[in-house]
């Protein structure tokens, strides 16, 4: 742990302020709590919201895992993991089952989460109504009145144009029958993992300065139509490394002739299956 920084980079007052926002978020599942987001030593869009949440909840006993696009070895994941190893001196891991805190962007691990674990999501745009209503004053009122009927317009457009709901990521969900929530850019494949998860889920948006949360076992329902029910994507291929046909697969072009391979997006899950 390097000297000169407070534990986990943020000063204690800031961490308290963020914890208060988190507690409020946990008390009102899916509600976006404004917080006084700080400048972080990395650009907006790289996970400033997630880092602030992690910094506020992490303790010396924690073991941190960071994933980006499901992988533990991508730039963003590596640098955020190192950031906390350096400023908080905490142990890090790539194993989902060993981690007490998992900061993520884009994915929820394939390995089922258990009680006591905390997922921290990096959120680019927290407001699910933003595409529909550009005015914050109006969208907040819509949340207050649970006035969400128009959200289905987006799904209607998908079906009218393409014959099916094509929204593949950041698929809007209703939390506990009350608040409409953006689950951050996770694929819709991961939406069912949000529903009644035993782990605590925290969402931090750095640029927009919003925190929201899903306490353990919160019912989360993906929006759909009665005659076009929500469904997750499926692949006919298997992972080229571990042979899995149940995990989320990335399609990768491996040469200049357009040869494709499908590989598990969750590197830890893939490695574990091969071990």
């Amino acid at each position: 742990m390097s000297a000169g920084y407070n534990f986990a980079y943020l000063d204690e007052q800031t961490k308290r302020m963020i914890r208060r926002a988190i507690l409020k978020g946990v008390a009102l599942p899916g509600y976006q709590v404004p917080f006084a987001g700080r400048e972080m030593p990395l650009p907006y869009g790289w996970g400033t919201g997630g880092i602030q949440v992690t910094a506020s909840i992490i303790g010396p006993e924690d073991r941190l895992k960071v994933i980006d696009q499901g992988a533990d070895d991508t730039t963003n994941a590596v640098s955020i993991r190192r950031f906390f190893a350096k400023t908080a001196g905490v142990a890090t891991t790539t194993r989902t089952s060993e981690a007490s805190i998992i900061q993520t962007r884009h994915r929820i691990p394939e390995t089922p989460l258990r009680a006591g674990q905390i997922m921290v999501f990096q959120v680019p745009i927290p407001e699910p109504l933003r595409w529909l209503e550009p005015r914050e004053s109006v969208s907040r009122r819509m949340h207050a009145e649970t006035d969400y009927g128009s959200m289905h317009v987006k799904l209607y457009e998908d079906i009218a144009r393409l014959g099916r709901i094509s929204t593949a990521y950041d698929y809007p969900v209703m939390v506990n029958g009350r608040y409409l929530m953006r689950p951050s850019p996770i694929p819709r494949f991961d939406n069912p993992k949000l529903d009644r998860s035993p782990a605590l889920m925290l969402f931090g948006a750095g640029r927009e300065k919003r925190i929201y949360a899903l306490p353990p076992h919160t019912p989360v329902k993906s929006l759909d139509f009665e005659d076009h029910p929500f469904a997750i994507e499926r692949w006919t291929e298997r992972c080229a490394r571990c042979g899995s046909n149940t995990s989320f697969l990335d399609e990768i072009v491996v040469d200049d002739r357009g040869t494709r391979r499908f590989i598990c997006s969750d590197t830890d899950h893939c490695a574990e299956r091969r071990a």
């Binding site: 207050a144 009145e145 006035d147 009927g149 289905h152 317009v153 009218a160 009665e226």
Partner: protein
């Protein structure tokens, strides 16, 4: 119930700073009736419409609306949550400019379907069929159901807006210059359509216009406004053929004979 008004407005007053836009306006509207509001620009017509629609809060006065179940609520005093819940689908609004009343980035079908989805419709097929039926009803080609409103002509956009306003089968429709800015032949067709729809669906409507021809065609009763106050009201033909108030006489006499 038939003899009970759907809408009973009493002493409605609205000021913007020290200017009075509406001064003690009172009127009643019965189911199936079309009330025209005429007057020159700046006479408070649109403000009155916005007050009834709940877009503006009045300084004084009551707006009593009879809900489907027979309960009467004062829209001027109703908290917003209640207002939204009770009025969902009960009051439709047609703007002068269709772009104000439509969602331009989504297809015609989605525009018509949105009020249904907002009211809780969750069956795609049903919504789609309703959208098709309404396109037909406002005399548009069904094939354009997936086109964006921006690809439509002004008259078609207005038809689309009318379909969107009426699809939830409201009991009251508020129209602000529904034929303004359209050429005469399109206006005539649109007026025909509106007249038929209002009669078929037995909707009560308030139509704001500065065009006395539109008022004569659509409205059963007429209210003439000047500087925020109602100066004359009565059966349309009576007001237009035998105007009593000097201002009404001026309005009627200033219409160019075709």
């Amino acid at each position: 119930m038939k003899d009970q008004p759907l809408l009973d407005v009493e002493g409605l007053t609205k000021r913007f700073g020290d200017r009075t836009a509406c001064q003690g306006v009172s009127f009643a509207l019965w189911p199936g009736e079309v009330l025209g509001i005429v007057g020159e620009s700046g006479s408070g017509k649109t403000t009155l419409l916005n007050l009834v629609a709940g877009r503006l809060a009045p300084e004084a006065g009551t707006i009593c609306f009879r809900l489907g179940a027979g309960r009467v609520v004062d829209l001027a005093r109703l908290p917003e949550t209640e207002r939204r819940r009770l009025l969902r689908g009960e009051i439709g609004f047609v703007h002068q400019n269709p772009r104000d009343g439509l969602r331009l980035t989504v297809s015609a079908g989605a525009n018509i379907g949105e009020p249904l989805m907002a009211a809780g419709a969750r069956h795609y097929g049903t919504i789609r069929n309703a959208a098709r039926a309404w396109l037909q009803r406002v005399e548009m080609e069904e094939g354009r159901i997936d086109d964006l409103p921006t690809t439509f002509s002004g008259g078609m956009q207005q038809r689309l807006q009318i379909a969107r306003a009426l699809v939830s089968e409201p009991r009251l429709v508020l129209m602000d210059e529904p034929t303004g800015g359209l050429d005469v032949s399109v206006q005539a067709k649109l007026l025909d359509l509106l007249r038929r729809l209002v009669a078929d669906l037995h909707i009560a409507a308030v139509v704001v216009t500065h065009d006395l021809g539109v008022a004569r065609l659509l409205a059963h009763r007429l209210m003439v406004m000047q500087r925020g106050a109602v100066v004359e009201s009565g059966v349309t033909d009576q007001v237009l053929d035998d105007p009593q108030h000097p201002y009404t006489q001026l309005l009627v006499s200033s219409v160019l004979a075709a």
